[in-house]
């Protein structure tokens, strides 16, 4: 293909382009660029909503809500006495408890929303929740989840 033929092809195309074509192309590019902005805006919102918190309940009462973002140790009072929770690397585990079987300690660490740690003798349930970024009021009763809480 010599340059002349290439030029003929190009001019053939440009002769057939209409004003509407440029309009559509402009629309296309405008859409693509603006959707970058919209996408990053929603991404920020999603990141905010992905903040996880662990709801610690005793019986039917919410004792506290523990943010999963920074590593820290917590002491909570269960029915049999103090037990300690540890948050590290976005995972939470029960480190120490006064219960007999130590099932809750052996459960290990959880990291996904919806997972829970249960200590039946202490009546303590640690439930990982996906969204609550603000700490709920501590006297608000939470829905009981299963027999482990209500005996």
């Amino acid at each position: 293909m010599n340059p002349q033929k290439i030029f003929a092809k190009i001019s053939f195309v440009t002769n057939h382009l209409c004003p509407g074509d440029w309009l559509i192309m402009f629309l296309f590019i405008a859409f693509a660029i603006s959707s970058w902005g919209i996408g990053s805006f929603f991404k920020k919102q999603l990141n905010a909503s992905e903040k996880m918190a662990a709801a610690v309940t005793m019986g039917n009462r919410l004792i506290t809500s523990v943010p999963m973002s920074q590593p820290q140790d917590y002491i909570i009072k269960g029915r049999l006495g103090e037990m300690s929770l540890r948050v590290a690397d976005g995972r939470i585990r029960i480190v120490q408890s006064r219960c007999a079987n130590q099932v809750c300690v052996k459960q290990g660490a959880i990291s996904q929303p919806g997972e829970m740690l249960v200590c039946v003798p202490n009546q303590v349930v640690v439930l990982l929740q996906g969204e609550t970024s603000e700490t709920p009021k501590s006297d608000r009763p939470v829905k009981s989840r299963g027999d482990a809480v209500t005996f």
């Binding site: 053939f12 195309v13 057939h16 382009l17 209409c18 004003p19 509407g20 074509d21 309009l23 559509i24 192309m25 629309l27 296309f28 590019i29 859409f31 693509a32 660029i33 959707s35 970058w36 919209i38 996408g39 929603f42 991404k43 999603l46």
Partner: protein
């Protein structure tokens, strides 16, 4: 005018619609074998058949080519009633609706390339809407929009150029005896 009456689909128009459907189907199956670096981006070569049908045979043929291609293609790929089938159906319907609309009401403002781009844009938007509201049910799929739009822009230009050159070649063929099928008159934008 009834869609399937003889006034719309003469025998010649019917056979040519079938021919273009076959062409679109082959393109559809061919691009389904191609490796895809971006799983959401397809070249959309089958849209060439729709564009040719729209310019050479009219809106009814374009609809027939698209719907038959989506349906038969899903049969051949075994993806009938899958999420992918609904996505391609929504995209195809949106694209052909946009293109027939623009062809009907703005034939002097848009060339084949403009129609192809408009079809690609409608295809992407319809797929995002269907994927977001029916399949994933999460609005966050809008992140994919820029990643879908840039390849679609490129593919729309390529498909439009291919259709333009094909129409030019086809217009050199001797004129058909069927007066409703005049290649050299219909396709050329002023």
């Amino acid at each position: 005018m009834p869609l399937l009456s003889k006034s719309v689909f003469t025998t010649q128009r019917l056979t040519r619609t079938a021919l273009l459907t076959g062409f679109g189907l082959v393109m559809f199956l061919f691009e389904s074998i191609l490796p895809r670096p971006l799983p959401w981006a397809k070249p959309g070569l089958a849209n060439i058949a729709t564009l040719l049908a729209l310019y050479l045979l009219g809106a009814a043929s374009a609809w027939a080519v698209t719907l038959l291609r989506v349906g038969l293609g899903s049969f051949f790929l075994g993806s009938f009633m899958n999420p992918g089938f609904w996505l391609s159906l929504a995209g195809g319907v949106a694209a052909v609706a946009t293109m027939t609309f623009l062809k009907k009401f703005g034939a002097r403002q848009f060339s084949v390339i403009g129609l192809s781009l408009a079809g690609a844009l409608a295809h992407v938007l319809a797929q995002i809407v269907v994927a977001g509201f029916l399949i994933v049910r999460r609005f966050e799929i809008i992140y994919l929009l820029p990643a879908m739009l840039w390849p679609a822009l490129f593919a729309g230009v390529v498909v439009g150029l291919t259709a333009l050159f094909l129409l030019e070649r086809l217009a050199r063929l001797p004129r058909s005896r069927d007066s409703s099928f005049s290649l050299s008159k219909n396709w050329r934008s002023p």
